[in-house]
Amino acid sequence: METLLDLRPLFAILVSAAAAVAIAFTGRHPNLRETWSVLAAVVKFLLVASMAPGVLAGETYEVDLVQLAPGIELGLRVDAAGLLFALSASFLWILTSFYSMGYMRGLSEHKQTRFYAMLATCLSATIGLCFSANVLTFVVFYEILSVATYPLVIHAESEKAWRIGRQYLIYAITAGIALVGGTALIQQTAGTLDFAPGGFLDAGIGTGTLWVIFLCFFIGFGVKAGVMPLHSWLPNAMIAPTPVSALLHAVAVVKAGVFGFVRLVGYIFGPELLGDIGAATVLATFAAVTILLASCIALMKDDLKARLAYSTVGHLSYIVLGVALLVPHALLGAAFHMVTHAAMKITLFFCAGAIYVHTGKKKVSELDGIGRQMPVTLAAFGIGAVGLAGVPLVGGFVSKWYLAAGTVDAGALVFLGVLLLSGILNAAYLVPIVTRAFFRSSEAHPRFNEASLFMVIPISITAVLSLLLGTHPDGLFRFFSVAEAMVASVTGISFAGGGP
């Protein structure tokens, strides 16, 4: 293990913040404005990706900026867990930038400058919390992310949007304050806030205090991760433009909550302590209930984005469940599911948006026969759908495989049952959309007439990415190795390596 001073994590955060400023000042020139967005996304991804080989080789990049509070630095450190999340978020931002051009221009949306600027700000905050070296730094970026998402949620500025915005704020601010309270408790009882693989809290703090800390963080992260009963803002937030739903409410923002749980279990409490006080079982139970309930609700939703939103709620809890099982295989499955779910779900949202822009259709029941009109989009949707259901050769299979293996390792066969049942439910609420689109005929849809290439190309890329993650989990950007490195650092157990 080698620790190197490196400014790349800082630049990776700042590049999109700078882009947000540039976007705000060039709002009158749409092409220039969107150039900044794409440029920042590419630079950000390259910066993040350039650190991957080093992290895999066991190096840690870090930089301390200023003191946030006495003895607590605004510190950035790149480890495997942060890198995993940062890689997927920054890569998908590139695609979202292109997709947004097609979507926002296709609908002639208002206030596009604000949209692009806030999206860039959100990505800054997301990468910031990926690379946070301690809890306080994490909280700072987490709160910035909460606030920066608000203008995107209320984008439509209808009465309904304002109302949903208020609901979003109440959830987000409550979560943020709970986190701050928990952080204060940790700082005064443990004396440090630095994330450490395997955790830094010890049982000497007292079980009661540990439970209070856990509760604070459960609320803080549970809201963003959509753990029931803290989830209800998330389906409503789908009122935001689809690129936001796709990138933030399937990848960046919600995964920030899930990533928080990864940090909580792996780097604050440590699996052993969390298991000892019994909190892991509680977390796993909440996650399992969420998985089942969300899948059932998704089954009943006719609105395509609402169905996808509940599907997201369910899949986020897959990751939480994997983390809460505390065994290496489950942790590996959870980590990899962060990546595969991101790729698959963003594909589905992109498709939903493309269908809406191109045909104005929002409901599942209106999609009969649309496969003939938009075959590429619907084929991509099919890949994402079967992937989420856990069919082999798509990314979702690999992560679910390890999650299932983890439930067996942990001896918790109930959760294995939950995973299998939910897989069936997933198939039940997603696959019929594809079959109806291709196999039912309808007069409403003309022959081949695809959406704008700005949308179709990103959709194709994410669909192919979902496939590649299934066939070559380690082939692309070495996601699987990074996930393994993370599990190894937390549990001390390293796998043979090289993928399944």
Partner: protein
């Protein structure tokens, strides 16, 4: 260098007189002198900070008379911190003042500027004096200037200020009575001498009575719950400039005086153990925070909302005193500067809005985000800071107060800080939402006046009013990110007596 402590109030006092006479000849001369005088005192204060950091405490004896006979001036880390804040806010407001004063109180400019200088002279005197009797003199000088500045507001202002005058006079009377008791039993008025003699007299009834009277008197002046009743009307009906100057620093100086008594005159153990004054102040603060925040939610007048919010915010400072441990008191003291910047910024923003649109009612603020974009950027920053979103200044004082509550094991304080953040989120996001809504297309309901059409014809505020507001917004961010500089170098040494 050693004259610095006396030089600051001296400069301001001289400025007040000179500006009065110059203003009688020509208003602009009076204004120029005031800007020059306050600017000079601000520069001297900054020099004072650097002198304290390099050479430690500076004491100056007026006319060469040694204490206990002579008057002593003390520049130590805490008073340097206060006086820099006072002159800094003063300078920002005086730059801002002319346009707003001419608009809101035409014909009174000539007396306005000298009163501002006189107020600052009084407050600087309170901060720097090393003598409990002189503290009374200066606090009354400041109060007299404040009565004048506040009473020139609208029609209802004189009555409100008359109430303030009665409260203030009673408070001053209590304090002076306490000083008399103290002099009677200890035989000196010099703070340093008192600190040496009082420990032998802890059981003396007159010392106990003195402490109670002095803290009650200052509590009245700082609007400590339930002695805050004078405040809302006063800030509500005052001219924007007066509110923007007085709300940030006036009540804080009384809080500062209590801290002085607590740390330097009576020994901390007296306030904590012999006579549980800090505990009482802490619980009153809890009441103030809750009542202030809840009533702020109920207001529709922007200025009145800010006034109730001030009641809540000054209670944070009192809560820091109530915690009586180093990190908690640091939080309280840091909140003095944080709240001064935030509330100053907010009241001046209110002035900008009033100048351009004449509006003070929050429900009619729709469309301001478009009409006055820069003012509203500043408002967004100040509002987020009031809620306590990192990395703005408001976050860190609350965080330190939370740390202090954990140290003290006081879970009710802990919960109150958390709940009050939620409450302030409610009343500030309500305004933010209104500001960024589109202005209604046609005149609805009330009105139909020039602004009834929804469009705000005035546009952005003039530069002389915009720049100070933006400067305060930037200061909110900078003080947040670099708060440790203030905490480590000025506040840690100040609270050292508590660590013993």
């Amino acid at each position: 260098m050693s004259q610095i402590p006396a030089l600051i109030p001296g400069t301001l006092l001289f400025t007040a007189f000179a500006a009065l006479f110059a203003g009688l000849i020509r208003v602009s001369w009076g204004y120029a002198l005031t800007v020059l005088g306050i600017g000079t005192s601000f520069v001297i204060s900054l020099m004072g900070v650097s002198a304290v950091l390099q050479e430690g405490e500076l004491r100056y004896h007026l006319g060469g008379w040694q204490p206990p006979l002579g008057i002593e001036w003390v520049l130590d880390p805490l008073s340097a911190f206060m006086v820099t804040l006072i002159t800094g806010i003063g300078f920002t407001v005086i730059v801002y003042a002319p346009r707003s004063i001419r608009f809101e109180t035409p014909g009174k400019e000539g007396f306005f500027y000298p009163s501002i200088a006189l107020l600052l002279a009084g407050l600087a005197g309170v901060s720097l004096t090393g003598d409990v009797f002189n503290l009374y003199i200066f606090i009354e000088i400041a109060a007299l200037a404040a009565y004048a500045l506040l009473a020139v507001g609208d029609r209802r202002a004189p009555v409100a200020v008359f109430r303030y005058l009665i409260f203030g006079a009673v408070g001053g009377g209590f304090y002076l009575l306490g000083v008399g008791f103290l002099y009677y039993s200890a035989g000196t008025l010099n703070m340093a001498d008192l600190a040496e003699r009082i420990p032998e007299l802890y059981q003396s009834r007159s010392v106990i009575a003195a402490a109670v009277l002095m803290v009650t008197g200052l509590g009245l002046k700082m609007a400590l719950f339930p002695m805050h009743l004078w405040l809302p009307d006063v800030y509500n009906f005052a001219p924007s400039v007066s509110a923007g100057l007085i709300a940030p620093i006036m009540t804080k100086v009384s809080a500062y005086a209590i801290v002085r008594l607590f740390l330097d005159v009576f020994h901390p153990s007296f306030f904590v153990e012999t006579l549980p004054i800090t505990t009482l102040v802490g619980w009153l603060a809890v009441g103030g925070i809750l009542v202030g925040s809840i009533l702020a939610i109920a207001q529709s007048d922007f200025r009145r909302m800010l006034a109730y919010s001030s009641v809540g915010q000054i209670s944070y400072v009192a809560l820091g005193i109530g915690l009586a441990n180093p990190i908690g008191l640091i939080g309280g003291l840091l909140h003095i500067v944080n709240h001064a910047l935030m509330k100053g910024c907010l009241f001046l923003i209110g002035g900008n809005v009033r100048l351009r649109t004449g509006l003070v009612e929050i429900p009619r603020f729709a469309g301001l985000g478009r009409a006055m974009p820069w003012t509203m950027v500043a408002f967004t920053v100040a509002a987020l800071a009031m809620v306590g979103i990192p990395p703005t200044a408001g976050f860190f004082s609350k965080y330190y107060l939370l740390l202090g509550s954990v140290d003290a094991g006081n879970w009710i304080f802990f919960a109150v800080i958390i709940v009050s953040s939620l409450l302030s989120a409610i009343y500030f996001f309500r305004v933010l939402e209104m500001v960024y809504r589109e202005a209604p297309e046609s005149a609805e309901g009330e009105g139909g006046g020039s602004d009834g059409g929804g469009a705000h014809p005035g546009g952005e505020a003039p530069a002389s009013m915009l720049v100070p507001v933006l400067a305060l917004a930037v200061a909110i961010l900078l003080v947040g990110i670099f708060n440790v500089v203030i905490v480590d170098r000025l506040l840690e040494p100040a609270v050292a007596p508590l660590a013993e």
